[in-house]
Symmetry: C2
Subunit: 188 residues, 2 copies
DNA sequence: TTGTTAAACGGACCGACGGTCCGTTACGTT
DNA sequence: AACGTAACGGACCGTCGGTCCGTTTAACAA
């Protein structure tokens, strides 16, 4: 790849990131806006990323890499802890990348699922859930956990204090993994 | 409301319903398409429904009424049964109204939540969950259940046999309500 | 039946946006 | 220095949501 191409790709990603971070409605960030903010022609933008979806996916995966890398690092603990940590990291990610996540999830055409991060997270969670719930149930339950932190839901609950949301997710995690909660086992 | 207004409103809703039912991508159904299919001018369409979101919401609520009415009718059984029935009806609704549901949920601006049906279902589920899980947890868990049947997830799992999806949802419901599954209690 | 009025109609029109095209520019190589 | 090729950039296009306004027509009163 030529030097100017690399430079421009970098400039576009940075500009787009800034725009999405400051936008409250991701739909308000147009491709012209991105091109202008990056100081780049529109043709360059589209040649590099194909279309709007491509740009958003590229930016999303860039941001996702840090999170997944940090998750890979942590071993240890039982399955519940591992799932809890993963969901907590994901929730934080969704909060910190509200607009970008909403943009990604509202692209249409199965965009929230045909995505490197989703596939990896689903597989990871499903494997952990399978240990206590069996492989059959694990697949859907894993999807259900990921659905519980959909960015527009997180957005809808934006006025909740962060720890309430967090504890809600943790409650769900424990329910799905062992179905015991609040000290007292529910099955006797 | 004038007679021709009533007639046109009806024609538009019927035409839009037909178009969304036969479309695989809801974004492919344009307002011009709807107007043409209804045999009505575009101005009429926008005057009656305000904007695209208004049309979709109106159509969605129309279809939703049948489902909620039928749910109101059923009393009896314990909380788990009630939640299970509700979620099952909702899942069937999402499958039968794939494109319309996707259209509604991808409008942006909190559209999946600022919706008569969502509010009612959330309140209903939260009340039932509160009985075993307490009111604090019930609120988020109710959202989580509803998120598990998001239309794009249902769509993503479209190649699953219907009963697999259904049993996945039922497993989730039981997990959330009492956290016991597969005969053997998980807490000892 | 006829006249009047206000509401509804409909389609030409507009601005914005995603995406394309192609003449121009500049990087990398020999 | 010269050349070929890849990248550039912005004018341009088609489509779509939404508006505007001249025309029609339902509703009602005389």
């Amino acid at each position: 790849m030529r030097a100017d191409a690399v430079r421009n790709r970098e400039a576009v990603l940075q500009a787009a990131g800034r725009l999405f971070d400051t936008a409250d409605d991701p739909a308000g960030v147009s491709m012209d806006d991105v091109a202008a903010a990056a100081g780049v022609g529109k043709g360059t933008l589209f040649r590099r990323f194909g279309d709007r979806a491509g740009l958003i996916r590229a930016l999303y995966e860039l941001r996702t890499e840090r999170m997944t890398a940090e998750l890979e690092g942590e071993g240890g603990g039982d399955a519940v802890d591992a799932v809890a940590r993963t969901m907590d990291a994901l929730l934080r990610f969704k909060i910190e990348n509200r607009a970008l996540s909403r943009a990604l999830e509202s692209l249409g055409g199965g965009s929230p699922y045909t995505n490197a991060a989703y596939g990896g997270l689903h597989a990871r969670l499903a494997a952990l859930i399978a240990a206590t719930r069996g492989p059959e149930a694990a697949d859907f339950l894993s999807h259900a956990l990921l659905a519980a932190v959909r960015s527009d839901l997180v957005d809808h609950l934006a006025d909740w204090p962060d720890d309430r949301l967090k504890s809600g997710v943790q409650t769900l995690v424990r329910s799905v993994l062992r179905g015991e909660e609040r000290g007292a086992p529910l099955c006797r």
